[in-house]
């Protein structure tokens, strides 16, 4: 017997919308089974994981703080993935954005001016763009697969950050801890009242709206869409594939860089060896869960932010490892991709005889 994927003539529109919901449901079921296997009451586990994060004002603020980088990065990746450009290294672009953006307050900390913050943001984006341009360059001129190069550059960026905070950029008054000086004064992002919610949240919402209009209404957005869906046709239409590759990587890299410097000028407050709990990787799930659509990404970012908060809650009140959050996120991505595949293909079972003759031929 043989199993085969067969393309469906017309993928169902309803299923395209429903499949992420099915994926979330399946993730919850698997989660409940996992809790039960660990001897935890599944209802209590799911409550801690998915309800508590949205049950109080404090946790909703924290939810926005976590969703901010996820949405910023995810919306850029959504555009990128639509063009069939696979930027897997947003985590590295985030790190480079943080490093380059934090250069001003660290190297010129006496300089206090309202210009500091906008400059930091611009430099942060520039850092992300520069880092994402490397895979674009390699792809366009040497045909190197951008999945590998963007991913491997993550580790280069993280090691550079690690070296900087242990070496040249270490806070001289920091008791030898591997940390830079704190972001103070003009180097801090304004926050909403006394909460941890910062201006980065507004950047994220703005990016969603701008990219929504961009994809729906502009010729460039159309070019990206066509380039991903029908590369040959896009060539006939006079669109350049290398230009699209570069544009998409730069866009998603710039947004990841902005997310990185926003973390430093916001909730993290200084450079440290580790500045992100894998936002750049989780944003890949955000992009897919959001159907690669800017508005969808906004909601998906909130869902994945819940999984981060739930993971923290599970550590505190259930005594589970912080890896639980990653298990949930990975399970979710698996089910999204599986249900997407089954929306486009159906499984056909071939009987033994037919399968054998197929092989014989």
């Amino acid at each position: 017997m043989k199993l085969q994927f067969e393309q469906r003539p017309q993928p169902s529109r309803v299923m395209t919308v429903v499949s992420p919901l099915i994926a979330v449901l399946l993730m919850v079921i698997v989660g409940a089974i996992l809790f039960a296997a660990r001897g935890i009451d599944p209802w209590r586990g799911l409550y801690v994981y998915f309800i508590e994060p949205v049950a109080s004002l404090w946790s909703i603020e924290e939810l926005i703080v976590k969703a901010t980088p996820l949405v910023l990065i995810g919306v850029g990746l959504a555009v990128c993935f639509r063009a069939n450009v696979w930027n897997i290294g947003a985590e590295g672009q985030l790190t480079m954005g943080a490093i380059v953006g934090a250069a001003i307050p660290i190297l010129a900390h006496q300089w206090q001016s309202p210009l500091v913050l906008p400059l930091m943001m611009l430099l942060g984006m520039a850092g992300g763009i520069a880092w994402a341009s490397i895979p674009a360059l390699l792809r366009n001129h040497f045909g190197v697969n951008e999945i590998l190069t963007s991913l491997m550059l993550v580790y280069v960026a993280q090691l550079l950050l690690d070296w900087l905070v242990r070496g040249p950029w270490r806070d001289p008054e920091g008791y030898n801890f591997p940390e830079s000086i704190d972001m103070t004064g003009w180097a801090q992002l304004p926050t909403l009242g006394y909460s941890r919610v910062h201006l980065g949240g507004a950047f994220a919402v703005l990016a969603v709206l701008v990219l929504f209009l961009f994809m729906a209404r502009t010729l460039k957005g159309f070019e990206i869409e066509v380039s991903g869906a029908a590369p040959r046709a896009s060539g006939f239409g006079g669109f350049s594939r290398p230009r699209t590759v570069w544009f998409c990587l730069a866009l998603s890299g710039g947004l990841a860089g902005l997310a990185g410097i926003s973390e430093i000028a916001g909730p993290v407050g200084q450079l440290q060896p580790v500045i992100s709990p894998g936002y750049g990787f989780t944003a890949i799930i955000v992009a897919f869960l959001g159907r690669l659509h800017p508005i969808g990404v906004l909601f998906a970012g909130i869902v994945l932010a819940i999984s981060y908060l739930g993971g923290e809650g599970a550590q505190i009140s259930l005594g589970l490892s912080d890896k639980t959050a990653q298990v949930f996120q990975g399970t979710l991505l698996f089910f999204i991709l599986a249900s997407d595949t089954l929306t486009r293909y159906r499984i056909r079972v071939q009987r033994d005889a037919a399968g054998a003759s197929e092989v014989a031929r």
Binding site: T218, V226, A230, A233
Partner: protein, 171 residues
């Protein structure tokens, strides 16, 4: 592009030649829809509703739309391969008419086709490609089927495959 609606397919090849389609980087959706509707109407493309996805059209209707989309922009130079392939007789006649009109109006039209009837109907000058070699060009009145057949066979070589006739309409 199968998954895209006709207006988007019109936008694909005409975004740079049609000044009204894109303004300051933004797509004028009313204009692209109107263009698609005009092509649909003029070339008798049968659709289930206004602006369907290209994949919802039958092969013949899709061919009518694709050819119509290019003819509608009134090009000054046109190279077209098998323009009436898979199209019903009425639409084929219309496409041939438009090709002739275009040439009449002063455009350079090069039609590549294996349909000899079609070639004799609209061509002013005819040349034959056989085994990758182009024959001399003959005025349509000075060549007949038999001569074309010989040229297609490679004139004095036998067994030529993949030959096609080519018609030219002078600019």
């Amino acid at each position: 592009m199968p998954g895209f609606v006709l207006a988007e397919n019109a936008l694909l090849t005409r975004h740079s030649s049609d000044p009204g389609m894109v303004r300051a980087g933004f797509v004028d959706r009313a204009h692209t829809r109107a263009t698609a509707a005009r092509v649909t109407e003029r070339f008798d493309v049968r659709t289930s509703h206004a602006n369907p996805a290209a994949s919802a059209l039958s092969g013949g209707n899709l061919q009518k739309f694709v050819v119509g989309r290019e003819l509608d922009r009134e090009p000054r130079v046109l190279v077209i391969n098998q323009p009436t392939w898979g199209v019903d007789a009425g639409a084929a006649a219309l496409i041939r008419q438009v090709l002739s009109d275009l040439a009449e109006a002063g455009a350079a039209v090069l039609v590549i086709s294996q349909d000899l009837d079609e070639i004799f109907e609209i061509a002013d000058r005819i040349a034959v490609i056989s085994r990758g070699e182009l024959s001399d060009t003959f005025p349509a009145g000075a060549i007949d089927r038999e001569r074309i057949g010989l040229l297609m066979a490679g004139a004095h070589e036998s067994g030529a495959r993949n030959s096609g006739a080519k018609r030219e309409v002078p600019a």
